[in-house]
């Protein structure tokens, strides 16, 4: 797994796809595009609800300039877990 650490530079919510695009990095020009997106067709609603709290946390981190640590697979942009770090 990969941990991408940085500030939320930009975040787009797209309800029709039940997903959010989030750009994480040190500056607006140096940011990694990651996704908060459904994992599959038969996903439980509890997972969906949890994922939406993740988007809310990313928004809160963005406007407070708080750093986040997004965990995802090496070859997949979908965020599987998220930490708000002490720094």
């Amino acid at each position: 797994m990969t941990e991408t650490t940085g500030l939320v530079q930009r975040l787009t919510v797209i309800p029709s796809d039940s997903m959010a695009c989030v750009w994480i990095g040190p500056t607006p020009a140096i940011a990694e595009l990651l996704l908060v997106a459904p994992g599959g067709e038969n996903e439980a609603m509890s997972v969906d609800a949890l994922r939406n709290t993740m988007i809310s946390a990313l928004v809160a981190a963005q406007v407070s300039r708080h750093e986040v640590v997004a965990v995802h697979a090496d070859d997949d942009a979908r965020i599987t877990s998220l930490r708000l770090s002490p720094t």
Binding site: T5, P15, T27, P28, A49, E67, S85, P86
Partner: protein, 470 residues
């Protein structure tokens, strides 16, 4: 699909809709809405709820949004952010403050605008990708401000921030570094305790002087990134380096917390490098290099300990040859390199870079040694060799690194070899100034002009590239 970009002026909940009014002067305000329909799938409803929360956050924070909406003015997606600068962390009086950006000009100032006044501050350090303030001035009004960067020919976007009185953060990111797994990280840590020669643990006086710790920390960063030696900023590499600070005034002086120790029969303070990894982990942090900032009246001389990288078989590495023998630039440190740094260092000094030279080298695959003495070592040194006799000639070729011959410095430029020395050094990049790993203060010019030798520079360039690309 149309787009409206601006700040959220009003949000209303009306029936099954959330209506947001977006102001983007000089254009007229635009009312757009999110509709919660009974036919919507549950995931869509969840996501619409998140989007409504995003509008609320934008309304409260003053952040502009970009709303895309259909011909009925129903929002189909919302983006928040998209500034051209990036303030790092909360704005707290007396705490560090830094802002990331792109192509930031060197004459930039940081401007804080509030309802009552405008405060312009000169940064303590400027690089094209970031500016640092040692401490956020208390003149900046508490509460909502808009911060921007301004120079003679450029002004950034204004970013809303909330300034508060404190206390300063215990752990703080100064610059996030490259958005990848474990970017190369340099940590600055105020030393909670000192292990004395007698084996006791005493509180380090630096913990009572946070302001001075801040100044010393920025001085370290300034030394690494802004002086004549460009090792870390070549190819804009410093954009990749993560900088963090830890000042934890709650810790007592004990075996676990003491990060520095007095060295007997000397004035040297040494890092307790075996404690660093566990110390950093408390703050969800890892580092390649740690500067331990301390204060002592009796042991005020800095020292460093080289990094110990993981074996290649564990985490990988990049092979190199030195005089025909194969070695490895390891990707990850098992024990980070470390240096003590007196809180009394000046604002502009090469001492942090000199100690970085030791700390960033590797215990097992090449150490970068002091060149101001004739001391011998049994470990593999990159930048120092020894003749059998001081009367023996200095070889023309110092070493062959990755198939390339690097000349020796036949005269120890700028200083001269004492006649009884057997050690000798590689050729300098700037012969008019002493080597940064030598007595760099002893030359005719400013010590700030001192650089590494050609061989060490080439070796460090490859070593750092291996770590940046890991």
């Amino acid at each position: 699909m149309a787009t409206s970009t601006g700040t959220v002026q009003l949000i209303s909940w009306i029936g099954d809709t959330v209506v947001a009014t977006i102001a983007a002067p000089p254009l007229a305000d635009r009312a757009v809405f999110i509709a919660f329909r009974s036919v919507d799938r549950e995931p869509t409803l969840h996501c619409k709820a998140v989007m409504a929360n995003l509008l609320v956050s934008a309304f409260i924070s003053g952040y502009p949004i970009e709303a895309r909406y259909n011909s009925n003015w129903e929002i189909e997606q919302v983006t928040v952010g998209a500034f051209d600068i990036s303030p790092v962390g909360p704005a707290i009086h007396g705490d560090f403050y830094s802002i990331g950006g792109v192509d930031i000009p060197p004459d930039v100032e940081i401007v804080f605008d509030s309802d009552t006044m405008t405060v312009a501050v000169d940064p303590d350090m400027v690089r094209p990708h970031c500016v640092f303030l040692t401490a956020l001035p208390s003149e900046i009004p508490l509460g909502r401000n808009v911060v921007s960067l301004r120079s003679a020919n450029w002004t950034s976007n204004p970013v809303p921030i909330d300034v508060n009185a404190g206390p300063p953060q215990t752990a703080r990111t100064l610059y996030s570094g490259w958005p990848k797994h474990r970017p190369y990280t340099i940590a600055l840590a105020a030393n909670p305790g000192i292990e004395t020669i007698e084996g006791d643990f005493v509180i380090d006086p630096v913990m009572a002087d946070r302001a001075r710790y801040h100044r010393a920390s920025v001085s370290c960063v300034r030394s690494l990134l802004t002086m004549a030696e460009d090792l870390l900023r070549q190819n804009d590499w410093d954009r990749q380096i993560r900088f963090i600070s830890i000042f934890d005034a709650t810790l007592s002086a004990n075996e676990d917390n003491a990060l520095a120790q007095e060295v007997a029969d000397s004035t040297i303070m040494a890092p307790r490098n075996h404690r660093l990894e566990a110390f950093l982990a408390r703050y969800d942090a890892q580092a390649d290099i740690v500067f331990v900032v301390f204060r002592s009246d009796t042991h005020n001389r800095e020292s460093a300990t080289a990094t110990t990288d993981y074996a290649t078989s564990t985490t990988g590495g990049t092979a190199f040859t030195y005089d025909g023998v194969e070695h490895v630039h390891g990707y990850y440190p098992r024990t980070p390199g470390s240096a003590t740094m007196s809180v009394t260092i000046g604002n502009r000094t090469m001492t942090p870079f000199h100690e970085f030279g030791h700390a960033a080298s590797d215990y097992n695959n090449g150490r970068v040694r002091d060149l101001y003495d004739d001391n011998t070592t049994s470990s593999f040194a990159i930048n120092k060799k020894w003749r059998a006799q001081s009367s023996d000639p200095i070889p023309a070729i110092f070493a062959t690194y990755n198939g390339v011959d690097f000349p020796s410095d036949p005269t120890r430029d700028g200083l001269g070899y004492p006649p009884d020395w057997v050690s000798y050094h590689p050729e300098l990049i700037t012969p008019e100034n002493p080597n940064l790993m030598d007595n760099y203060r002893g030359g005719q010019n400013s010590s700030l002009l001192s650089r590494l030798d050609r061989l060490t520079y080439a070796w460090f360039t490859d070593r750092l590239r291996a770590k940046f690309n890991r």
